[in-house]
Symmetry: C2
Subunit: 214 residues, 2 copies
DNA sequence: ACCAATTACTACACAGGTGTAGGAAACATG
DNA sequence: CATGTTTCCTACACCTGTGTAGTAATTGGT
């Protein structure tokens, strides 16, 4: 009451918000994608809203609507970007020309590269590995499709391995599910508690299981 | 406009809602718990709200507030109930006095009982196995604690198995994580697609992996 | 230094959820 | 059948998020 100056009625006038830096549309898109990803990683899928993203990026909602249709559009395009990144990283971790002469070494090396991949870019992998039912349907179906695809590849590799050793003493499809479950679980461990297990402990276990299955 | 009767202004008068059956408080609590569980199973954790639960149970919100503090209270007590059920079922599936003379058989039998357990009561297991980050913090931490506990038991069993076979050629803790990951993943498979894999295929794979690790 | 185009902000109407006060119906009991 | 108690409903005020119109600031080109 004792405070400031001239104006009679209005309480403080609600000082106009400082303008955020003016930025061309495509840069803004990337910024908003980044903001959304930070929210997902920090607070989970539930916390996403146009409002929250705008706040995180330091702008107002109309700015978001100027660049995206709606939340669905924003998340869809974010998924495109993250899917691309993830698949690229995965492709790099998988061996281009598997050296079948030493399967043990091959498995260990591949596992090691995958673990390092996740460690190196948690922002990309957390929304994929620590997601589940919460995430919007669009995300879930995309990730499921990629997972299914990867699963098929693994099944093929296992069948190949079994063939090299003789008759199929094991159910390749189920085994592939098991392997994938272990990989994903280890990925989650890396994300929630990176220091708990050293890479080599995880690698050794994966190698052990696969050796046993051969 | 051409329609009904006497009253001049009011459009249809919004006929009073028929009374839901009058029910004592403790029965209502159980009904609302059931309604909440149905919503979680059918639509996921995101879909829960006092409003949705009241609708699902065929009553109005004040009825819910008459019996629970708020959503946190409702979910917390629901968790108590479901946790109790799940742990009881799990205890029943685990062997009371493990017959160590035939470990292969023991593992297979235990795995089979666990699979049947999940098949028999999906309403209980789905919220536990298909949950992840979406669910409210209270739920996550409780389930995590139980999982951790179970993990410790499995680690102990593996160490026991390793000891019986001689030196520890394997990392028991990491192996326990791997086993648990497989179990949970198989549980999810059972819930999302019960007919895809027969029980014995899953049992055989689990037995195979564990045999290999022995 | 000005002007026009671009970009950001304020303010609004609307939708859906929370939590509560107060009235209305059903039920038990005499 | 009258009455008190329990249980349920309606109606409201409030909060948070959506999407849009209209206005104001910034900036690049001349």
């Amino acid at each position: 009451m004792t405070a400031s100056a001239s104006a009679a009625a209005k309480p403080a006038k609600a000082a106009r918000r400082p303008y955020a830096a003016r930025v061309p549309a495509d840069v803004r898109r990337a910024q908003l994608h980044d903001a959304a990803l930070r929210i997902i990683v920090r607070d989970g899928y539930d916390a996403i809203s146009i409002d929250a993203i705008a706040r995180e990026a330091g702008v107002t909602r109309p700015v978001v609507y100027g660049v995206f249709e709606d939340l669905r559009d924003l998340l869809g395009t974010l998924l495109d970007r993250q899917q691309e990144r993830a698949l690229a990283q995965l492709a790099e971790a998988l061996p281009p020309e598997p050296d079948l002469s030493d399967p043990d070494q091959l498995v260990a090396d591949t596992a090691r590269r995958m673990i390092e991949t996740v460690r190196a870019d948690p922002m990309t992998w957390q929304p994929i590995l620590l997601a589940a039912s919460s995430m919007p349907e669009q995300a879930r179906s995309r990730i499921d499709a990629d997972r299914e695809n990867f699963l098929t590849q693994v099944t093929g590799l296992i069948e190949l391995g079994l063939a090299l050793r003789g008759g199929p003493v094991l159910d390749a499809e189920v085994a592939a599910h098991a392997i994938l479950a272990i990989l994903e679980h280890f990925g989650r461990l890396l994300l929630t508690d990176p220091d708990r297990f050293e890479t080599e402990r995880l690698v050794a276990t994966i190698a052990g299981v696969l050796t046993a299955l051969r």
